[in-house]
Symmetry: C2
Subunit: 284 residues, 2 copies
Amino acid sequence: MVDVGSASIPTAIERLALSCRRAGSPISIGLEPCEEYLPAGFRPDIGGYERFLRTVVDATAGQAAAYKFNLAFFEALGASGVELLYRVRQQLPPDTYVIADAKRCDIGSSARRYAQALYESLGADAATVNPLLGRDSVEPFLEYSDRLSFLLALTSNPGAADFLAPGALYRRIAEAASAWNTRQNCGLVVGATQASLAAEIRKAAPSLPFLVPGVGAQGGDLRGAAKAARAPEGNVPVLFHVTRGILPDKGKSCDPAAAILEKTRNWRSQINEAVARVTGGTIE
Amino acid sequence: MVDVGSASIPTAIERLALSCRRAGSPISIGLEPCEEYLPAGFRPDIGGYERFLRTVVDATAGQAAAYKFNLAFFEALGASGVELLYRVRQQLPPDTYVIADAKRCDIGSSARRYAQALYESLGADAATVNPLLGRDSVEPFLEYSDRLSFLLALTSNPGAADFLAPGALYRRIAEAASAWNTRQNCGLVVGATQASLAAEIRKAAPSLPFLVPGVGAQGGDLRGAAKAARAPEGNVPVLFHVTRGILPDKGKSCDPAAAILEKTRNWRSQINEAVARVTGGTIE
């Protein structure tokens, strides 16, 4: 907590921890308007995507610690896709924790504008940021002290071996992020598929929250990831992200909302069980 | 040229070279809806920004090899800012060479969506791409063989010393980009402020086009940059970017269009002179 006179304002990291506790599971659910993901009966147009995203949000009400908008999918639809993003975001219930998965980066006044776009215009609680251009490119995001900026440290794709792995750049990013976390509002994106590297990142950044994508359809090992990502001290949230994993199986006729809720509950159980295994019972 | 039956289709790199020759100068002009840049009499709202951007485009007609949209400034204005981006882009004269300065990056299907957003929905001829996540994150951009993807190699900010400089990551990016340039559609963003490093990048990527920001208000040394960036073989375009440098001085009352044209001509002369000095007279 940061003391401001007599009141205590929760830090950005504490706000995420609180959202995980409220939801009863550190699960992040993806919002991606993607043709492949549409259940039967939804058209691949703006109206169909809007109905699909609302179905996901309504079906999972109270179940998710966070919703993560993947901006790429909205932007691919052009200006009307970006309007859709804003509309869906604005109509989320109050207190919904929103992550803008935008992986933005730039320098100087441009970085400031990207931070403004995500944290003011879109009103996200957290965002993903690409740290390649260094401290002053990340700082405009961190200046929003009540928002959580997740810096990309390690991704689960083969290309992570090109620049992130050599010289353990992922570890240097984690160390830098730890040093830049003076406002308790810096986190890391850590791919779930390489548990040994994730453990190395955790060692370099013991008190940063992790956003762990790839535990669902990308085939990451959930238990291994939960063990590697576990913070030595409590109250450091580790958020596990699922997009495809909660969507109805293609080709099966079903009530989409019911199928989404069932699959979400299943993922919550798996995540909670994996976390409980390594923490001895508490959901952080 | 790539031979397709009897016809020869210019490569993406050749298309940019052609645009530089047509314009008579390898100058890229920035389009950024930014309050600080507005001449007197322009309001800082969507209408005022639209009139400002159109004034820049109209005043510089035929003078620019490319226009570079800085997406951060449009996105900061929310969904209506993105609509403005699309509107201004769509109303550019046909054959205008458009760069989407977006510095996007992601993996898998998300990277494909960002490429689709910039190259299909927005219809950009070129884009800036952050290569941190490696080859398969860049490949979806390079699959658009007629578009030019400029990978970030070196920026002019202090933070370039955090991750890009150690271990000469900038050089490894340049070497990788050279290897990935199988379709003649890969370029590099190379900050102008560190000529010795730019020369090292040129050595690692002798045949890639460079986009060189920072020669205007950022205080880069134009002649040093032109020398360092010069490609050993001809017909490899090096584009010099100016945004603030062509805008009317603040506080001076003047005809904005006339001031922009005058400053643009001045920058063209400076750029052409710097290039001629190192190439012995030809504008590449």
